[in-house]
Symmetry: C3
Subunit: 201 residues, 3 copies
C-alpha cells in the first residue's frame, strides 16, 4: 500500500482518507473522518476539521482554527489564527431537554457558510454562519462578519462594515472618479458598479 502523499505531524490525528497530496497537517491538529481537504493545504497547530467540512486546494489555516461541518472553504483561502466559524444560529447545549429533538438531526439546526476562492479571513475574526464571503475578499482582524461580503470587499469592525476594496494580491484599491481602480504590481484592473467590483481587461 502506498503511503499517503500528505504530511502529518507525529502528534496530529487524521481520521479522514480524503486529503490531497502535498497537504501538511501540524502538531495537535485533528481531522475527523469525512472531512475533505484538497492539495497543498497547510493546517497549523491546534486546528480542527469536522466531518462534512470541505477545504479546496492551497487553503491555509493558521493555528487554533476549527472548520465545522457545513463550512466550505474554496481554493486559496486564508484563515488567520484563532478565527472562528459557526454553524448554528440558535446555539443551545444539545442535551438540554427542550432542544434535544432539534439537535437530533443536523438538518434542523446546521447553517452553511461559504468562503469563495482566494478570500482571507483576518486573525481572530468571527464568521456568523449563513454568510458567503466573496472571492478575494479580506476580513479585517477581529471583525465579526454578520452579512455577505462581496468579491474583493474589505470589511472591518463589529459588526463588519464595508471599508474598501482589495486586489487579488490583498493590496487596497483606490477608485478613481470613474469608479475604476488598478493594481500596478499585478497589472489588474477593476470597475466598481452597484456595490460590486469586477475585473476588467
Amino acid at each position: 500500500m502506498k503511503p499517503p502523499a500528505f504530511f502529518q505531524h507525529a502528534s496530529a490525528l487524521v481520521e479522514s482518507t480524503r486529503i490531497g497530496a502535498g497537504t501538511r497537517i501540524w502538531a495537535f491538529a485533528h481531522v475527523l473522518a469525512g472531512a475533505r481537504i484538497g492539495k497543498d493545504c497547510n493546517l497549523g497547530d491546534h486546528t480542527f476539521i469536522e466531518g462534512d467540512a470541505v477545504l479546496g486546494h492551497r487553503v491555509t489555516l493558521k493555528n487554533g482554527v476549527a472548520v465545522w461541518g457545513g463550512v466550505h472553504l474554496a481554493d486559496d483561502v486564508f484563515v488567520g489564527p484563532n478565527a472562528v466559524f459557526t454553524n448554528d444560529l440558535l446555539p443551545r447545549s444539545p442535551r438540554f431537554s427542550r432542544v434535544a429533538e432539534r439537535y437530533s438531526d443536523p438538518k434542523n439546526w446546521r447553517v452553511p457558510t461559504r468562503v469563495l476562492r482566494g478570500a482571507s479571513i483576518g486573525a481572530n475574526a468571527t464568521i456568523k454562519c449563513g454568510v458567503t464571503i466573496g472571492k478575494f475578499a479580506l476580513i479585517g482582524a477581529g471583525s465579526v462578519v454578520t452579512h455577505d461580503v462581496p468579491d474583493h470587499g474589505l470589511v472591518l469592525g463589529v459588526p463588519a462594515r464595508a471599508a474598501g476594496w482589495v486586489c487579488e494580491c490583498g493590496r487596497r484599491l483606490e477608485l478613481d472618479d470613474a469608479s475604476r481602480a488598478s493594481c500596478r504590481p499585478c497589472a489588474l484592473h477593476y470597475q466598481a458598479r452597484g456595490g460590486r467590483l469586477r475585473q476588467i481587461p
Copy 2:
C-alpha cells in the same frame, strides 16, 4: 475497581476525579485536578478546565474554550468555539516583582463569573470576570460582555448591549404592546417588566 463512567479521548489529559457519568472529553483537552464537571457534558478538542472551575450537567464547551478557577457554569450552558473567560481584572504577569505579592493568594486577585442555567455564549465572545449571565441568555458571537446580562437577554457587540429577548429554546421573542411575548413552538409565555423578562402561565 469500576472504570470511570465518562469517556476520555486517548489524547486527553484528565486529572480530576469529579466527573459525571456520560461526560465526553475530546482530543487534546486537559482537565486539572480539582475541577468539578457534571453528567453528560461535552468538552470539545483543545478545551481546558482549571481546578476550582465548576460545570453543571449537560454543559457543552466547543473547541478551544478554557474555564478558569472561579468560573461557574450551571446546567445546560453552551459555550461557543474560542469563547474566552477571565478571572482577573488587573492582569499582570504574576512574577513581575511589583505584583508578585498580590498573586501569592488567589483571594487578592481572582474574580468569579457565573453563567446561569441554559445560557449560551456565542463563538469567540469574551466574558469579563465579575459578571453574571442570566438563565437562558444568549451572548452574540464575538461580543465582549462587561456587565451582567438578565435572564433571557440577548446581547450583542463590543461592549455587549441589550438587543432583545430569547426563549429557552434560543428563538427571538417579539414583545407585543403589553410587553408580552410567546414562543409558539415551545408554548411558553413571557412578560417583560423593569428590564427583566419572566415566564408567565
Copy 3:
C-alpha cells in the same frame, strides 16, 4: 549532560535550545526551533512559539496564544487567553500563484510587533502587526489594537481607543487638575503631558 533547567510538560513539544531557567511550558504547547524565551516564563496549554519570536523574562502567556516570528515580548509581559498576534498586513494563502513570490521571503511580508516591559494584553484581544505597545500598557479584553499604545495607556474597544492610564501594578490612575496622578499602594507618581504619561519622583 545537564538536564535543561526549565520545565516541560510531557505532552509539550520543545524544539528550541534557547529557553531560560525556571520557565514552565505546559500541555500541548509547541516551541519551534529558533524561538528565544527568557527565564521564569509561563507558557499555558495550547500555546505556540514560532522561530524568530522573542520572549523576555517572566513573560506569562495564557492558553491558546501563538507568538509568531517578528513578535517581540519584553520582560514581564502578560498575554491573556486566546489573544492573537499577527505578522502580515495583506494575508493571503502563500501558495496562491499570484502571491507565491511575495511569500518566498519573509522580508517581503513580515511586519514586526513590539510589546514593551510589563504591558498586559487582555483576553481575546487582537494585535495588528506593526504596532508598539508601551511599557505597562493595558489592552482591554476583546479589543483590536490598530495603533501604537503609549506607556501606561489603557485602551479598549474595536478599534481600541484611549480610555485612561494605569500604574505599573495595573490599577487605574485618576489625573488631577495638574494632570498628575498617584497610585497609593505602589507609592508611584505620574505626570501626563502631550499624550504621554511619565513617572515623576
